[in-house]
Symmetry: C2
Subunit: 417 residues, 2 copies
């Protein structure tokens, strides 16, 4: 087992050990945000035939070559083609047909005149323009044709994808499965949030943060509860999570006497692959794989900020890869840090910052309390400024990479144009 | 009723007519992404007492003023304070206590020595450092104190918020309700996606795009099905949607003979507030309010891209306001358009573009087919470049505002630092 990896080494190691999950077949209406596990090839042509793009009149251009607002042409309206209907016969020379948006063009017609360019007559119509070739005509197959690949496997299904799926009659699709993530907290001091906190007990908030982090990306948390700090109790709870795809425990991987997690992990068949990542917050991170099943196991540190940040950096990318995403990481942007930040060499620091857009770019204000125990600092921290491993810190005004955790930062308060 | 508003006028008009919905009380585990309708004031102090931030030894600093790696001090270990436990008595002069992360500091102690700075002895311990005042001690109330406002009303509940809610024992919270959005399609040519499409019939894909657009932001779509193109059929289906918070119909507000929606809307008590927005795609947009109930009514154009874009520009901000969001708009960024785009004055154009990040900034490539009938162009179009109302178009190389529709554009393919 390796110890003391860099953040990049640890991420690479974890992502290499993480597979992409298999497919499941799902109602398209439930598939928003999921990653497509098949390519969608059209079995249809759309539009199915040449059709009108407007409400107006189907015409033969040769009949209207001289038409203009000053010298309109008057033609008989010989039939009507409603949307969803079809022409009873071909359009003859000198004839027009009333036509509506989406209706198929009658044989013989080669353009549509929109009704705004006519007197909208019923038995006959006065036309004030000489239409261009195929004016207001949508070609058969303009949107897609038989055999066209409409959506590639690996696409994240957004609303337009779901519209296209409907338009080719696909109401059932194959998408990558969502991982079930078993979450365990350990510690004799912990209680569930609805229980009394007298006698120095504190709420097992990490499990609730972790479950929310899972749900946020569409993974399915299974909360295993709080294990007492004994090997038997931890083992029993961990075994309850062995059916999941990922097992995440918080607390219990530090160097403390009361930390039995590592020995239990070995006992349940987990091959620990590394322990410890050179970062702050969050050094004591363990990663392993259950040898028989391939289940991923993450032992996260117990301080609330360390737990949340190590989930962000290591568990979240793995979960996103499991779900079939190619872009597994958080957005990053360049921002100017507004305060001096000092550190020792040897660990990469993730500094919680609030973000402010200005005309000169984004400012990153470090939140005042960077203690890894202060979960409320993560609410205020919209992002994590990255201070590299071998840096001894940065002066105010330095431009840094900032990982954006709070995606509402991108939302527009104003319309923006 | 006003006609032919600008996009900005129409958005402002709609947002002014849109209320914020009332609150509902919900399990915190279900509240991710929702907007908090109450401020969360702490009824607890956290940490509840001064406590250790490390596994180590609680000490009195005066006993260790001379300790160093070369001249360690040895002190007796008189008791142990486990996490969740408490000290049996105060620490006397010349004494230490074994202490674990999160455990309360014994009275009399004023610092913690981390175990890495000791020989980790059991009955007595050799200590190799002179600790700073309150070293490795977390102060009572460091994270939050009684009466602190931890989360302001209006916050969008992310994972850290849900962790904080748990830590103060709040398992039930008050959030703004999600709007129910009744969706109606109209047109004799339309069929549901699981039905045959012979005879020029096409799938009612707009309803499925709209339902997905609703779900994407957490609104609750109710699909009313396809209305035949008769006033009675439209009225019957619309009445079925009057219990919802918002009614959205697609198709049926153009100028066509077959469009009965406007008269039906008036019949069911809808006061139409405006019709037509100077934009492309999507001019024929109608907006009104059911007078008795305040239900918002949107009549969207029927071409698939027009439907989706008018939802984006007008319905989505209204739904987000209903849900309590302050940032109701899509993200926008500045990008360089890579092709010439010509237009007439008098309408604002939303040009579908793919986005490419480069060292010189973001490039916006217009998708090849800008026809409003081509839904597949919205899959390829990650954003909408804004070409202003009075512009006659732009040359390649012009920097424009681009609204980002595909938020996966922000996701990191690389770790980004």
């Amino acid at each position: 087992m390796r110890e003391g990896l860099t953040v990049a080494e640890a991420q690479d190691h974890i992502l290499e050990a993480t597979p992409v999950m298999g497919a499941e077949t799902l109602a398209a209406s439930e598939a928003g945000g999921r990653v497509l596990a098949e390519s969608i090839v059209s079995q249809r042509r759309h539009p199915p035939a040449d059709c009108s793009a407007m409400d107006g009149y189907a015409v033969r251009r040769e009949d209207l070559s001289s038409a203009s607002p000053d010298a309109p042409c008057t033609l008989p309206v010989v039939f009507e083609v409603p949307a969803g209907g079809h022409a009873p016969r071909a359009l003859g020379s000198g004839e027009t047909a009333r036509i509506f948006t989406g209706a198929p063009l009658p044989p013989g017609a080669d353009a549509v005149v929109m009704q705004e360019d006519t007197d909208q007559g019923a038995a006959q119509v006065e036309i004030r323009v000489a239409p261009a070739r195929r004016a207001h005509v949508r070609d058969a197959g303009e949107d897609f044709d038989l055999g066209d690949t409409l959506i590639e496997a690996g696409a994240v299904l957004g609303a337009p994808h779901l519209g296209v799926l409907a338009s080719v009659g696909r109401t059932i699709v194959s998408v990558h499965q969502r991982p079930r993530v078993a979450i365990l907290s350990g510690g004799d001091e912990l209680v569930e949030p609805d229980r009394p906190v007298d006698g120095g007990r504190i709420v097992s908030s990490n499990s609730y943060t972790l479950a929310a982090q899972c749900r946020e990306i569409g993974a399915d948390p299974i909360y295993l509860g709080i294990a007492e700090d004994t090997p038997n109790a931890i083992e029993a709870r961990m075994r309850a999570g062995l059916g999941a795809d990922v097992l995440v425990s918080s607390a219990g991987v530090s160097v403390g006497d009361h930390d039995h997690v590592r020995s239990v992990l070995e006992k349940i068949g987990c091959r620990l692959q590394f322990w410890g990542v050179k970062m702050k917050p969050g050094f004591p991170l363990a990663f392993g794989v259950i040898e028989k099943t391939g289940q991923l196991v993450f032992g996260l540190p117990g301080n609330p900020v360390s737990t949340a940040v190590t989930f962000e950096e290591f568990v979240r990318p793995a979960l996103r890869k499991l779900m079939g995403h190619r872009a597994v990481h958080r957005p990053t942007l360049r921002a100017t840090i507004t305060d001096r930040y000092k550190k020792k060499r040897g660990r990469l620091h993730f500094v919680r910052v609030t973000l402010e857009r200005t005309a000169e770019g984004v400012l990153a204000h470090p939140v005042s309390n960077q203690s890894s125990g202060v979960l409320t600092s993560l609410i205020r921290g919209q992002g994590l400024a990255v201070i590299p491993l071998e840096s001894e810190g940065v002066e105010a005004g330095t431009v840094l990479d900032v990982q954006v955790l709070d995606t509402t930062f991108f939302d527009g308060v104003d319309r923006g144009f």
